[in-house]
Symmetry: C2
Subunit: 348 residues, 2 copies
């Protein structure tokens, strides 16, 4: 399959006013898709109308304010689309521990509602799920593949894992084409900058641009796999295309996930494949803004859900999606700083 | 550790009026534990006051009617106990597909409520979870070990997996001692006999004793790992004792689950380790009652969530709990028939 599979197609993005969702909306509009976004603009998360600068009010873009747990609403929205990108989520590790039921509601009940809507849609849309490296949690193997035994360390990770499995069940039982992307630590423009509860690199950029000190917990030597948002969006676009291949066919999934089964379901890691010490990127960010690092002790609520080193194995993704990350860390940081030097106030 | 660890201890059993729960209540009373049962007596599941014949009204036994999703209630109950055996569940595979939100409520929200109650209890109880082979689903490896990559095929299996992971998170973050047992197809006395939605062997015994034909879907050649309830209860008792060893200690878990981590968490398979063709045990049951088998086509709602062959690997359980199944299939069936020849009407 080649060419633009989104041309004149209708796409629903849940959580589409947030970081990944709004970047995806821009990318899909650039491919001439009609885009409908549903977002609840929950004040703790990243939904922001400013993210739609250049889209709002234009033909081919619709914004619906509402919750994905509203079954009637998501059924109405999914009835008319060819693709559903399900990105709406509670995305703070720390909040998932202090309020596990809220996380359950957003990440499990919300996903079940969206999958029901996809199942019932007469258009039989492709469903792409925004998974996370938190599904793997504290990795029992490095680099982590799609077959590494999950070991989530917080309620967020457990519920995102469950939500991914809901997709595999719907693929098996109802033949819904499902692709899940396990995204590593992603950063870049259009991310909220008001809280460090999630999206730590963006938070550090926020602090640096405000001239505030950047606090690193412990030695900061843990390895992380950082991904620039443009690369993540490219993976989403390729995942939707892959979902079309799965649709209506008896295909064998990438062996990494479900050996021997023939369901229209696939999981792909989406990361850089490189392990970078956390402290080194914090140092880069501080230097760019003439700010400085402070080493402080780990707060208990963070240390207890720290995963240790994480690196994502991209072999299956390269083979299945033809995707690998192409933006260097320095390029990504440069673009991030450039965006927020101009727009920081819109995200605080 | 030897001797009776339950003597004069207080134990809470959620879902304690059902099949496994009530058998466990009898076993714990026989060990001179004080037993409190909480059960919602939902009409679709197995809660049955007749299961408490010989216990009801006696010293050392308390019955509380209520839902485990009632956070206040379970906090009050867990505040006073040394062990919590969490068995309350939605347990029908088929119902989890027709009503995923009900399954989510019982199996995820209910488990989070019980874990919160355990965490907040000043008695720091040991927590034992009734997991299931459905966590493994369609096994990617046979026999399935505790490290086999889960591949649940229905919403029930996904939510039971999530609930098991909640336990590992609470063990890691809050040092709650958690033991999860992945129980295979269990049968025996005190199981509901009114529905074939779950507990197929008991259902066949019910049909046979009523002189009704027994329907086998397809060829019935799929292998299953059958477990007599007395053996399962012995595993629960040993799991509680194992939880005491985990409690307050930095122990290394059985390597099967969490290599290299030191959390008070363990998972054990609980099965016979033997793969028996489904049709052969159906034949045995029919013969015992002079009934007969009918082969019929798979109904779509069953076939789509059929796991294929399943056999449980007991190596880790033998090493960690010193447990293996000891009742033969014939002995188990004999005891089951003997019980229901006397009491069937109480379970219809």
């Amino acid at each position: 399959m080649s060419g633009n599979c989104y041309e004149k197609k209708h796409v629903l993005i849940t959580g589409g006013a947030g970081f990944l969702g709004s970047n995806l909306a821009h990318a899909l509009r650039a491919q001439n898709a009609t885009v409908t976004v549903v977002d609840n603009f929950h004040p703790d998360y990243g939904g922001n109308e400013f993210n739609f600068t250049g889209l709002m009010g234009s033909t081919g873009f619709n914004l619906e304010k509402g919750n994905v747990t509203n079954q009637k609403l998501v059924c109405e929205l999914a009835a008319e689309v060819d693709f559903v990108f399900h990105l709406a989520a509670q995305c703070s590790h720390v909040d998932s521990m202090s309020n596990p039921l809220l996380d359950l509601d957003f990440n499990c009940r919300g996903t079940l509602a969206v999958l029901e809507a996809v199942r019932l849609s007469p258009r039989k849309p492709v469903y792409v799920y925004a998974g996370t490296r938190a599904i793997i949690g504290a990795p029992l193997q490095l680099p982590a593949t799609e077959s590494t035994l999950p070991n989530p360390v917080d309620i967020y990770g457990v519920n995102k894992l469950a939500a991914e499995h809901y997709g595999s069940v719907y693929a098996r039982v109802y033949r819904v084409p499902v692709v899940s992307l396990r995204i590593t630590n992603c950063f870049g423009p259009r991310h909220q900058m008001k809280s460090g509860k999630y999206g730590i690199l963006n938070w550090f950029v926020s602090l640096a641009l405000q001239g505030k000190p950047i606090k690193v917990f412990g030695t900061g030597e843990q390895l992380r796999d950082y991904l620039f948002v443009d690369d993540a969006i490219e993976a989403f676009l390729k995942a939707g295309r892959f979902g079309l291949q799965l649709k209506g066919q008896e295909v064998t999934c990438p062996k990494a996930q479900l050996a021997g089964t023939k369901n229209p379901f696939a999981v792909f890691n989406v990361g850089s494949g490189k392990g970078i010490p956390f402290v080194s990127i914090a140092q880069k960010i501080a230097e760019k803004a003439g700010s400085k690092l402070e080493q402080v002790a780990w707060p208990a609520d963070r240390e207890s859900i720290e995963t240790g080193d994480f690196i994502s194995d991209g072999t299956t993704t390269q083979a299945g999606l033809g995707w690998c990350a192409s933006t260097s860390l320095d390029q990504g940081l440069e673009k991030t700083f450039a965006f927020y030097r101009e727009h920081l106030k819109k995200y605080l």
